[in-house]
Symmetry: C2
Subunit: 262 residues, 2 copies
């Protein structure tokens, strides 16, 4: 299971200020810290970048790649910014992401073919609604795969995100189980070893968890790993969670594990 | 998932000394601490009790039950001691346990019927060998179930232990995966919702884990819970592991969970 840093995020004020001034230093420093903390991939969540999307995304990708060789996820809903990021990319990029929303199918998904990069597909309804259970997610995954095939994109470029919801939602506990079912059974349902990603920070967002956020994250992460999750998107500075994420390896990947890694 | 304290164990010198002198105080104190630490059941591991098995096991069960109403597991290979424990029991007792070893089938298993108590069945070969994979464990589980049926014991009294082995064994990582497969699929294989138990302390016993014992335990425990484990036998004083064990509840039991419990 790869660990993806979700820390380079526009909601972070130091990122927002650096982006406003096109000042690379705070971003370089953050990315270097993410890599040292154990990140396997850096997610670049720029928000929509309505003003100067090309200049700002180019700046972000170039700045990140000036200090690391790690793959980057380009995380924006703005197709102009997305394409600028893919053009600026000199190493490995992943599109984060698309869904069945028509604008995404038309303007984001074709970029996966054009730039030959992996792309994350969210199991959401076209109107953005979150599915209620595993069965609805399997149906959406089949539609996502069809969309990929309709555009003659290699299915191996697809990474599915089943969309973790807050545990505090009325059906949050049930949804947490259903997500594990989806991750475990999606390869059988789709007929190939599809990669999966999940945003761990979603689990304890919102209210109702009484300060147990870190505890819930480090408890759910091994469950996700055990179900076969390929990539976990998370706060890479939650060191107790990361330690657990790394310790999942000998327990989920007998073939590739070496004790020296733990 | 219930948490079973494995702390009342003859290898613990304070337990050994208390038993030698039939001094109830250290045992009462230990059991009270186990209950306060979150134990749902107390395992009484007396060893074989070759001298005075009846007197010593009666003393142990009476002493434990004088300070707690929690169920007890009577954990000995000595049938004389086992029956003495079941006779002394005034609350809920569980036999821990039997296997396909002939002496256990003949002398331990019948006690489950005689005293109408649950009994743990270990997935081991008759000569004590540990199975190599899930498939061997499923075959052993079917034989265990047949043994139960042959003695006209209600199958709902059966609790299966798939036998966790040290991760440091040559095939330890693979075995850790196979155990999860067994726990998840045993109800389908046996055709009823059979209960399961696993001894977490086995995972990192022996050498080769470089001081990562607690980390491995708290990483594997959510995987076991997610696979559907009914009972985890563990060191109830490992508070970080216990905290994780309790946090599994909202993530595995949507129906019964209340936020107030976390």
């Amino acid at each position: 299971m790869q660990l993806i840093a979700d820390n380079l995020h526009i909601v972070n004020s130091s990122v927002r200020n650096a982006l406003k001034k096109l000042n690379p230093e705070p971003i370089k420093e953050l990315v270097t810290k993410c890599e040292m903390a154990g990140a396997d991939v850096i997610d670049i969540n720029s928000g929509p970048l309505t003003r100067n999307p090309v200049g700002k995304m180019t700046f972000l990708v170039e700045t990140v790649q000036s200090v690391t060789n790690l793959p980057v996820m380009i995380d924006t809903a703005n197709p102009i910014a997305m394409e600028a990021g893919l053009k600026a990319n000199k190493k490995t990029a992943i599109i984060n992401g698309f869904s069945l929303e028509p604008v995404k199918l038309e303007q984001i998904l074709p970029l996966a073919k054009k730039y030959k990069v992996d792309i994350i597909g969210y199991l959401l309804y076209p109107d953005g609604r979150v599915p209620n259970d595993a069965s609805e997610r399997f149906s959406l995954a089949i539609e996502i795969l069809q969309a990929i095939q309709n555009q003659n994109i290699d299915q191996n470029q697809l990474i599915i995100d089943p969309v973790i919801v807050p545990l505090s939602w009325q059906n949050g506990s049930k949804q947490a189980r259903e997500i594990l079912d989806v991750i475990q059974n999606l390869p059988d349902i789709l007929g190939f070893p599809v990669k999966t990603i999940a945003g761990l920070s979603n689990l304890a967002s919102g209210h109702g968890y009484k300060g147990k956020r870190l505890l819930l994250e480090k408890t759910y992460l091994p469950m996700l790993a055990s179900a076969g999750l390929s990539m976990a998107l998370l706060n890479i500075f939650h060191d107790k969670t990361i330690e657990v994420g790394k310790a999942c390896e000998p327990l989920v990947n007998p073939e590739v594990f070496s004790w020296a890694e733990l």
